[in-house]
């Protein structure tokens, strides 16, 4: 018990250190929250600032709420521990499951709290080209800008996808037993807007 507490303390300190280095002048942000774009204003170099903003957005993109359905393979993951989805379901030809196991069989139009069941009318897997699972924020950034891997979207389209899309918005209201993505969808949208406005630069690694 003692040792695990100690480890946890160390881990928290490490995270804090990374934030300070990464965000430079920004105030440290409590876990589960997002720093607003203006907190990066102190970074003079536009490119560095843009990359720092994306790094902050990366907290959302690498949250299990996002990566679970942007999996590396064809099987989604589930839960805060990102375990392989049970029962085993696969993306199928349209990203909505296979002939026998359609996403919509279980995932209804909205979360169903008594069953701990997440839901949205458009519940499905991100295409294979948009796999984020296991990737670094820098890699996701390059991927998200690449029309060949982002569904032929312009970076401006990401503003809508991340800032307003209601399926993405589910990540901030995932229901009982799931940790929401950090911040709010509006805050994430603001980060996307600021990132685009600052030149949509990617972190180096």
């Amino acid at each position: 018990m003692t040792s695990s507490l100690r480890t946890r303390g160390l881990a928290a300190a490490a995270v804090l250190a990374v934030c300070l280095v990464r965000v430079d002048a920004a105030e440290p942000v409590p876990a589960g929250r997002l720093a607003p774009p203006q907190s990066f204003d102190a970074i003079a170099d536009t490119h560095t600032r843009s990359a720092a903003i994306f790094t902050e957005l990366g907290k959302v993109l690498t949250s299990p709420r996002c990566t679970n359905c942007h999996p590396a393979g064809d099987r989604p993951r589930q839960g805060d521990h990102s375990r392989p989805h049970q029962p085993p379901v696969f993306r199928g030809p349209d990203g909505f499951g296979t002939a026998s196991m359609r996403c919509g069989s279980c995932h209804g139009a909205a979360n169903f709290e008594p069953g701990r069941m997440p839901g949205h009318s458009d519940w499905h897997l991100a295409p294979r080209s948009m796999a984020w699972e296991g990737r670094s924020v820098a890699e996701i950034c390059e991927q998200i800008k690449d029309p060949a891997r982002n569904g032929q979207r312009k970076v401006e389209d990401l503003l809508h996808h991340i800032g307003q899309d209601t399926l993405v918005g589910w990540a901030w209201a995932p229901g009982y037993g799931r940790t929401p993505a950090p911040g709010t969808q509006a805050e994430a949208g603001a980060l996307v807007a600021a990132w685009i406005a600052s030149g949509a630069a990617c972190p180096l690694k």
Binding site: P87, P88, A99, S100, M101, S105, E113, P114
Partner: protein
């Protein structure tokens, strides 16, 4: 509360006032006493609670009931394990399950039966090649958990029905 009307095994039930947060599983088991549909995990992970949903276009699919609100079935037509046999005459798949000793405790059987039946109906609409039969069955049944049988005899039972009528189910 919603006044729920639902057709189950050809019979209209309702309108019944139900809470919007009542699960379909509890509606069947606690309100209607139809306990043929089982409760296994309450998390859509074992699918022993699966029923058949009949769509207006003549297609069918399975749905778990333990994590789905009853009201989402309002106006729909469903089949449960209690509805497969016509009187005392068991369905072909029911007989195949028995003849293959497909189940032991039988608790997962309603889910496997519904899934297998939906597969047969799908194959009747869109047949598959003989070479794909095993993988098609495996894919269809894989969501269902069984703790007794090792699944082998369920697969053999479903396959026997498909292979017995190749003109119906196979390309």
């Amino acid at each position: 509360m919603t006044a729920l009307v639902i057709t189950i095994n050809g019979r209209v039930h309702g309108p019944t006032e139900v809470r919007d947060d009542l699960t379909m599983n509890d509606f069947l088991r606690e309100y209607l006493g139809m306990t043929g549909t089982k409760f296994g995990c309450g998390a859509a992970q074992c699918l022993s609670c699966a029923i058949i949903v009949d769509e207006p276009d003549g297609t069918s699919s399975t749905s778990p009931t333990c994590i789905v609100p009853a009201v989402s079935f309002n106006g729909k037509t469903i089949r449960t394990v209690e509805g497969h046999a016509k009187g005392d005459e068991l369905s072909v798949l029911q007989k195949a399950f028995i003849h293959h000793f497909a189940f032991q405790c039988g608790y997962c059987t309603p889910g496997f039966l519904n899934e297998g039946q939906v597969l047969l109906e799908r194959l009747a609409r869109t047949p598959v090649a003989r070479a794909d039969v095993e993988s098609t069955i495996a894919e269809a049944l894989d969501g269902h958990l069984c703790r007794c049988t090792g699944y082998v005899k369920y697969h053999e039972a479903v396959r026997s029905v498909i292979l017995a009528e190749p003109q119906r189910y196979l390309l």
